[in-house]
Structure formats: structure tokens, C-alpha cells
Point group: C2
Chain length 490, copies 2
């Protein structure tokens, strides 16, 4: 209470960091680039996991678990893959410590590994090495595996949730008999990601393809979902890769078809990570703190009693117990905060900071009048509601908040997606407005690179639903088949 926090308009980046601290979501650890995900942040991750895991299982994927360590030589088996990932990895070289002569704990030089182990930055190589013995015939296909795991990429500049050296994620890895089936799988998973973001996280996304230069190392095609944050920068929220036969060839994974002929299998991989939490924060939150969509809020309703003596508290508690029971039966998570050590105003501010969608306050006068004050976090509107209808009111309100957050974010994304037709216009919009810039591009990596160098904007994606529209590249003037989306990005 009373603490001064940075506003979004003042310093977005500082606001973001303070937001995480105020809501008690995570913190930097003493280990460079690694974060501690605190209980409230982890509870949000658990909600996201639960939704995704159910969708993966519904679509026939099985969870499994593969080693944390990857032999160095595996990384090298797929040429592009090693280029992409060898630069930024944690390397295990020894397997023992010992006491030195002066009593310090040191690495035992005699316990050096023959081959160094890499802490997985992603698991294609170790998984495809297993797939080799799992796949023999067409009957073993499709093989659809998912793994929930921690991965490590040695990032030099880190930000909580958005970019950390260690992060949590899921990685799907599938093997198919045909190219077509693998492409369909990659697309299916992209749409599952998009649906979860829109329907649960209330984050509207653009579904698209990455350009060649932004593809996953080892992929033939990378599908992505891109979301627009409140500061006008884009966030890559998830990717799904069609890997062709690259890993199958690197690890010699073949199957016998119905006629007994041996063929390499076709592959996909796809992943989303704790980065999604960063996207969630930056899409909805405001200067008072977090704003959580009800479907992912660990606490959906906080009830704060206002009382002057124990009799009043008891009377309130009695009534609230029934409400809590009714709501719980509908699957709504309710916290009744009767902690006597904190004043109601302090609690209000805390639940605001934590983004609890609905707050109910009930005092002695409300008791008398059979009313309660119901406040919604997203618009900060308050309503006095009859106690007899308050449970249904809350149920409806949660739905309304969920919907409103998506509408608001969709409107924002639409308002901040600008079609431009010249490079001057491109630069002007980028500088003054930000957001997605829809522009014709000639399809060359050279142009893409030059625009990036000159403006820091990158091609976020070639939207899947873009119009086929002939035009001229805003940069080179060369012919273009359609518009792509540019933006500065996280």
C-alpha cells in the first residue's frame, strides 16, 4: 500500500519486472540467467500445463521422458541443428568433486568424461536416437510423443519468463509414414496452441510460417503463433516444426511399408514454454498489477470480510461458507481471506496485484441488506449484488471477464496492425506506433536482413490466412506475392 510503482506508460520494461515482484510470481536466482518460479507463478504454469496436456492426449499423444544429457556427438549429427544450438549450451565435463589439499571443494580432474555431455537445449537428437529402435514397420507409426521437461540455453541477456537460461516447456516429437501426415500434424499442433492461447489465455495470435532465416535449426518449415504485447512488440508464443526427413536421415530411422520397402520417416516437433506466462502478463496486466483470465487464475474469487468485531466476522463467515461451497461445486476456486493481521484495503491491493478476476467484499451493512459488493479486476467496476443471486452473478461475471479480455486484446491487436505501402511509411509506423506492420516483401533473405539491420524489425511470420495479393516489396520494389507481418519482437 502506498508504494509507488512504475506505470506502463513510463517504463514498460520496469513495469514488467515490478509486476512480477508485486504478484510474487518469480525471481532471479543467484545462478546466472536461471529463475525461481514461486508458488503463484507455478500455479499459473500448472493451469496452462493441464489444459495443454489434456489436448495433447485427446489428439493421441503419449507422454514420455528422455535423458537431460545429450552426448556432444549427437548434436553434430544434424548439420544445421548443431549450428543453431551449440553456441549456447551448458557442458558437463566432469562427474565428481573432491576435497583439495587446502580443504576446498574442487572438481576432480580424474573424473573427466570421455565425451562431454550437453544439457539439452531441445531434445530432437536424443529422442531420434531412441526412435531408431522404436520404429521398424508402418505399424509403429505414427509415433506421437510429448515430453514435459526443463531445458537450458545459455542466454546472455535474460528476463523473467521471457528469456531465461533454464526454462520449463513441453516438446512434442512425432514420426509419420508420409510427408502429408507430418505436415498435418505440425499444423494441427499449431492450431491447438493457438486455440489454447485464445480460449484460455485470452491472447489473440496470428498463425503463420517463419521465413527461412527464422526457421528452427533442422526444420523444413516452422509454423508459429505470434502475439502482440501492449507495448507494440511481438512475442513468438509457440512454434511447430515440420522436420522433413532430416532427423530420420541423421539418426537412420526407417520403416518398412506394407510392401516391405524401407523408407525414412517424416517428423515434426513443437513446443511452448514458461515464456507463455510472460506473454500472459504483457497482454492483460495494467498499472495496478496482474490481470488474469478466469480460466487460468489460481484464485478466481477472493472474498474479503469487513468487520469491527468477532460477532460480525462470525456472521459473515457463516454466510460466506455457503457461497464458497456453491461456487466450489461449480469448479470455481474461492479464497476467503479472514486473516486478521491485514486490513481490507491491503487485501484489495494484493488481490489486484495478483490479478484475481473477481473480488467480493462483505461488511455488516451488506449483511443487514442481504447484499455484497462484487468488483471485477479487468474493468475495476463494482456492483452491489443481491446475496440471493450472487453465486450465479459471479459465474456469469467470470465468463464475461474471460470474453472481455480476449475482445480487448483482439481489438488492440487489430488497431495495432497497420498496412503500409512504402518503406518511409514502414519506418514511420514502426517508430511512432509500433505493432504489426503488414507489408509486401520480395521473399529474399537479403531484403529481410537489411530491414532488420536498419529498423530492428523482423518478419514475425507469413500469415497462414494472408490474401494472395500481388504487390511490390516496400524495400526493394521487387514483385511480392503477398504481405507479411513485421514487428520488433521480444
Amino acid at each position: 500500500m502506498g508504494a509507488k510503482y512504475t506505470k506502463r506508460s513510463e517504463d514498460y520494461s520496469k513495469w514488467y519486472n515490478e509486476l512480477i515482484e508485486r504478484a510474487d510470481l518469480a525471481e532471479h536466482s543467484d545462478v546466472r540467467g536461471c529463475m525461481v518460479i514461486k508458488p503463484y507463478g507455478y500455479a499459473i504454469w500448472e493451469k496452462i500445463k493441464e489444459v495443454l496436456d489434456a489436448k495433447f492426449k485427446e489428439t493421441g499423444h503419449d507422454n514420455a521422458y528422455f535423458p537431460l544429457f545429450i552426448p556432444k556427438s549427437y548434436l553434430s549429427k544434424e548439420a544445421e541443428h548443431v549450428e543453431g544450438f551449440a553456441k549456447e549450451c551448458a557442458v558437463v565435463t566432469h562427474y565428481r568433486l573432491k576435497n583439495s589439499d587446502n580443504g576446498e571443494v574442487v572438481v576432480d580432474p580424474e573424473a573427466k568424461l570421455e565425451e562431454e555431455l550437453i544439457v539439452r537445449p531441445t531434445s530432437e537428437t536424443i529422442i531420434w536416437n531412441s526412435f531408431k529402435s522404436w520404429v521398424q514397420s508402418y505399424r509403429d507409426l505414427p509415433l506421437k510423443i510429448n515430453q514435459w521437461a526443463n531445458v537450458v540455453r545459455w542466454e546472455m541477456r535474460t528476463r523473467l519468463f521471457l528469456r531465461t537460461a533454464e526454462f520449463l516447456w513441453q516438446e512434442g516429437h512425432t514420426a509419420h509414414a508420409t510427408k502429408q501426415e507430418a505436415i498435418e500434424e505440425a499444423e494441427q499442433m499449431l492450431h491447438i496452441y493457438a486455440d489454447v492461447l485464445e480460449q484460455y489465455m485470452a491472447i489473440p495470435v496470428v498463425r503463420g510460417l517463419k521465413t527461412a532465416s527464422e526457421r528452427f535449426a533442422g526444420a523444413e518449415e516452422t509454423y508459429c503463433i505470434e502475439a502482440l504485447m501492449q507495448d507494440g512488440k511481438a512475442l513468438q508464443a509457440g512454434t511447430s516444426h515440420f522436420l522433413g526427413q532430416n532427423f530420420a536421415k541423421a539418426f537412420d530411422v526407417k520403416f518398412a511399408d506394407k510392401d516391405g520397402a524401407l523408407e525414412h520417416v517424416w517428423a515434426t516437433s513443437w513446443g511452448v514454454s514458461t515464456r507463455l506466462i510472460g506473454g500472459l502478463l504483457m497482454t492483460h496486466s495494467d498499472d495496478e498489477g496482474l490481470v488474469l483470465p478466469p480460466k487460468l487464475a489460481p484464485i478466481q474469487v477472493a472474498i474479503v470480510p469487513i468487520y469491527k468485531n468477532e460477532d460480525q466476522l462470525n456472521a459473515i463467515s457463516e454466510k460466506v461458507a455457503i457461497l464458497k461451497k456453491n461456487l466450489s461445486e461449480k469448479g470455481i476456486s474461492v479464497k476467503f481471506d479472514d486473516d486478521d493481521n491485514r486490513r481490507p484495503g491491503w487485501k484489495f491491493a494484493e488481490y489486484e496485484a495478483k490479478g484475481v478476476p473477481v473480488r467480493v467484499a462483505i461488511g455488516p451493512r451488506d449483511l443487514e441488506n442481504e447484499k455484497a459488493e462484487v468488483a471485477r479486476r479487468d474493468t475495476k467496476e463494482k456492483e452491489i449484488v443481491d446475496w440471493s443471486t450472487v453465486d450465479q452473478y459471479i459465474v456469469d461475471l467470470l465468463d464475461e471477464i474471460q470474453e472481455n479480455l480476449l475482445t480487448k486484446a483482439s481489438d488492440f491487436t487489430q488497431e495495432n496492425t497497420t498496412e503500409v505501402n512504402s518503406y518511409d511509411e514502414f519506418k514511420k509506423v514502426l517508430e511512432e506506433k509500433g505493432g504489426f506492420i503488414s507489408a509486401h516483401w520480395d521473399g529474399s533473405e537479403e531484403t529481410e536482413q537489411k530491414i532488420k539491420e536498419e529498423t530492428k524489425a523482423t518478419i514475425r511470420c507469413i500469415p497462414l490466412n494472408r490474401k494472395q495479393e500481388a504487390g511490390n516489396c516496400v524495400y526493394s520494389g521487387n514483385p511480392s506475392e503477398g504481405r507479411v507481418l513485421f514487428a520488433k519482437a521480444y
Copy 2:
């Protein structure tokens, strides 16, 4: 079908390895000591996790996530802890690879870490380093955190599930204002573990205390649950530690009590791991494969149609659809295996190998007679059941199997727990019968050590419910306060 598998009586260890392969639970990876947990094995782990996680949350614990890496210096902060864990850890010394002049991928010598990082063998040190800033006043206590994570201990001799370099586990870490509260927490978690093993895994356990020499490195007291495997060897299935103020002192975690006085907090930690799956396998399985308790079986009922033509299959499928729906509504997982590529006999053998508790077979004659054949995996008994009552029959049968497995394992444990009163008797029972040996011990580490050297039997625990009974140590003849349990152990 037809393959010859090793029997338990021939070679228990080989039988165990084959069991895992037959049921397709896990396999060794190419990374020394690390396993791949395959979908069926992982599905069992997910069931175990789900049960435990719910119990942790019910008792007020929050999940969180801490870094994979621990700075080397942290390990050294608690003197006994480093002695216990430094011997067997993976050490990260570099953070980058590069291409060498001859095109190989090598460790970049310029990317050497200033301080080496240890891949967590357990997380007390990194977590207590965080707790330092999380705990200020008595109002922050108790702090009850759990983490689901992978950990690495560089084991030289590994066995799938029982002892692997990397394994999955949960580790609880709590901080309390009083010694008494911390001890109660450690005991509560032990009882939760024991209840989950008995009520869900159908594994009877002895609840006890470890002797000083077997305590967790850094603990004041280690509680444990010990289970007896079918070969008469004991398995430590879970531990819960009262850590005193050791870690609070090492990491300077103090709280202000109600009067403002600063005190170090009191701690516990507790964990169970994928080792539980090893215990599950070795408790119930037989020469035909896995036997799973219904509460943890990924597939509880497998239905196999027997037919000669498509009409018959269609008729069976129609009937089965209703049964499947009825059972699913009761929360029972059913697999209808109408795969046309495999014969019924092959399917029977597979579901036996996978330990599916109930198998239903239905053929044309069963259709006519409105019957089905229901086989239970545990006793291999079959029964012809009226179709009209088959769903309730299966519901009851699953309960009966669950109960039967626990009874059978409890009887086995009781029959293989032998009181001995002399060292000769001790050695004779150990050699000829195995199992738990209940014997008087003088309480000295010297005796414990000598018995271990001479017989390979260790003190598994001092049972919590042991009788206070004066006696004489079977080894030294010195006075003893009560019996302890010895066994050879995994």
C-alpha cells in the same frame, strides 16, 4: 508369444529386466546411467504423481520450481551435506561449444565458467538460499514448498527405475517456527507416503527411523518407509528428514518471532522418486509379466473381441461401446482392442505382460448367450459373467484385486519377517530365507558396520511402532532397548 522369459525363481534380476522390456516401460539410453521412460512407464508415474500431488496440496503445500544448477560453493555450506553429495555429481564447467579447425565440435575453452555449476543431486542448498529472502517474520511461516523435478547422481552401477544417474522425483522443503512443528511435518509426510504406497500401490511398508549412519547428509533424523520385495530384499521407498536448524544456519535463515526476537527456522525435506515404480514392479509382478494395482493401472480393463468376420466384430463392437461408456462414467479406463492385425492370444499375452488388471473376452457364442469371459490378472482366474451384470462385476472386481494385492504382499512381508535371537540364527535366516530380520542391536555404529561387512545386511530402520523390549544385541551381547529390522537391500 512363445518367447522364453526368465522366471523369478531362476534369476530374479534378469526377470526384472525382462519384465520392464516386455511391458515396454523403460530402456537404457546411450547416456551412461540415464534411462528413457517410455509411454507406458510414464503413464504409471503420472498416476503416482497425481495421487501424491493432491495429498501434498490437501496438506497445504505449494509447488514451485528452483534452478537445475547449484553453484559449487553452495554445496559446501552445509558440511555434512557436501560430504554426502559431492562424490557423485555432474559438473558443468563450460557454456559453449565451437567448431574446431578440423571441423569437429569441441568445447570452447574461452567459455569456462568462473564457478562450476553442479546439476542438482537434491535441492536443499539452492532452495534454502531462496528461503533466506522469503522468510522474515513468523507470519511467513510455515513455508511449505514442493518441487517436481529431475535430479542427477552419478551412480556407477545402475538399474532401470531402482538406481539411475538421472531420475524424476518430488522434493518437499519446509520451514517452521518451532522444532516440534518441523518434526510433526516430517512425520506427517512419512505417513502420507506410507498411505499412498499401501492404499494405491498396494505395497505394505514398515515406517521407521534410520540409524545415524544411514541418515540423509545434513539431517538430524531421517524417517523412512521400507518395503520387502519378492526376492526377500528390502527397498527404501521414501524418506522424510527432520533437518533441525542445519540448513537455516548454513544459509542464515532467521525469522522474527512475535516479540521481535530473531531465531533460526526449523526445517524438513522429503522425497520419493521414479524408484517407486521399481518397487511396484518387484512387489506384485509374476512370471507372466506385470501385475498392476487397479488404482495405478493406465488401462484398467482391456476388452478383446473374438470374431471370424466383420459382422461378428460389428455386433461385438456395438455391445462393447455401451459397456465402455458405462465403465468410463465410473472413472474406469477401458481399452477395446479391435486391432485386426493381431490374434486374440497375442493380445491376451500382451495385456498380461502389461499387468492390465481385468481382461474381458467376448466372442460370437458369448454374444448369443449374453455372456462375457472376465479374467483377473492377479490370480489369473476366469469367470463367465452375465452381460447384464458385467459392469458392476468389473467395478467390484477391481476393488477386490486392489485389496487382494495388498493382502498378498502384506502376508508375504509378515511371513518374511523373522525374529532372531542369536547371530548364528541371524546369519542362517539371512542366507536361507532372507527378508526382514528383527533383532536386538546395541545401538553402536561399530556393531552396525561389522554386521554389514560380515553379512551385507544393513539396518533398514528402527520401526516407529516397535515394542520397548529390553534384550541383548545379537552381535555384541550388549544391552539393547528394542529390536531393529535388518535386511539386504536394493
